[in-house]
């Protein structure tokens, strides 16, 4: 049972307040998804805005075959994909080659303290940079599971791949992340 069903039905009928409620519920996760899939890009909020605009315009066609959360994440992945394509075209246009090396991980000297604001920012940035250093298909699977908290079946539906493929991508993604996140383990 989709916990958002009543709000989604009202929003699909044109109720803006119901849609605003959905926005309030999902804005932080969608901004987080955009940021963690774009190496902490400053465009994350713009991407999230585009996600909600597309969701609002397509809501009347949402049949409820999947949960609203899954559907919203699928829109978000499409918008992030468009963002990557546009960035790639611009890089080609301006003749700036994509970096051959993964972004350098300037991990903090000591593991950041999650209880302070600056520590939160450092920790989030370090995780996003580590995520940016692994292949896209592994990154997407790991972020959907471990950062966004979607279950394996939802991820398989969302990516339209078999369940075993999702499990395998998550295993390999975490394997690649382990040495990259090692400097953050100090305080744990």
């Amino acid at each position: 049972m989709d916990a958002d069903r009543a709000l989604v039905q009202a929003a699909a009928a044109g109720d803006r307040e119901a849609f605003d409620e959905l926005v309030r519920k999902y804005q932080a996760p969608i901004v987080g998804l955009a940021r963690s899939l774009t190496a902490g890009s400053a465009d994350a909020e713009d991407i999230a805005q585009e996600v909600f605009v597309r969701a609002w315009r397509s809501l009347s066609g949402f049949r409820g075959d999947s949960a609203f959360r899954t559907w919203l994440h699928r829109i978000a992945l499409n918008v992030v994909h468009s963002h990557h394509s546009r960035a790639s075209r611009l890089r080609r246009f301006f003749q700036a080659p994509a970096p051959d090396q993964p972004p350098e991980l300037d991990a903090p000297e000591a593991a950041p303290d999650p209880s302070d604001l600056e520590g939160n920012i450092l920790l989030r940035d370090a995780i996003d940079k580590a995520l940016a250093a692994i292949p896209q298909e592994l990154r997407v699977a790991v972020v959907l599971r471990d950062v966004q908290g979607l279950d394996y079946r939802e991820i398989a539906d969302l990516l339209r791949v078999p369940l075993g493929t999702v499990e395998s991508r998550i295993f390999r993604g975490r394997q690649r992340l382990r040495p990259l996140l090692e400097p953050l383990r100090g305080g744990r």
């Binding site: 987080g32 999230a48 471990d146 908290g149 279950d151 394996y152 499990e167 395998s168 996140l181 953050l184």
Partner: protein, 161 residues
């Protein structure tokens, strides 16, 4: 008996606390009991999953909802008006037409030419179009020439930045 390759997806699932069905769980337990490497892999997977779950929530700017409401209601907000990217996109066709008209007037081309023919006919000159086909010229120079009409005109190829 499960191979390490077959155990990997099950390890991923167990590592984040998701439930395996009873039969798969039993096969994984049997494998782990005799495989140091997979026990280490399980521990690593648990550690990474826990760190990612602890990724702090992303702050969302207080204007997020208001900006979104403006877009959904079709009213350009102050922030949108101030966004140079909006105006760049909207004015790009106008700029292109003006640029083409100005270049045609300056060059006095008698008949319509394709952009490529026009650039070839201007080869050796300092027009932005001729620079477009020069692989040694950077985009900065092309843009500067488009904007100023001069760019690196006084210099030779060696002067190109």
């Amino acid at each position: 008996m499960l191979s390490c390759t077959d155990a990997a997806p099950l390890i991923a699932v167990r590592a984040d606390g998701s439930l395996l069905d009873e039969a798969a769980g039993a096969r994984l337990d049997e494998h782990l009991a005799g495989c140091d490497g997979c026990r280490r892999a399980l521990s690593d997977q648990q550690s990474v999953a826990a760190m990612l779950r602890a990724r702090p929530l992303d702050p969302v700017s207080p204007q997020f909802a208001a900006r979104l409401a403006e877009r959904l209601d079709g009213r350009p907000g102050v922030l949108d008006l101030a966004d140079w990217r909006v105006w760049t996109v909207r004015l790009a066709p106008v700029a292109a037409v003006l640029l083409l008209a100005a270049s045609l007037l300056a060059g006095g081309a008698p008949a319509p030419l394709s952009l490529e023919e026009w650039a070839v006919s201007n080869a050796g000159s300092s027009s932005a179009a001729s620079l477009l086909w020069d692989s040694e010229v950077t985009t900065d120079v092309v843009l500067e020439t488009m904007v100023t009409g001069a760019g690196e005109a006084s210099g030779g190829p060696g002067d190109v930045r």
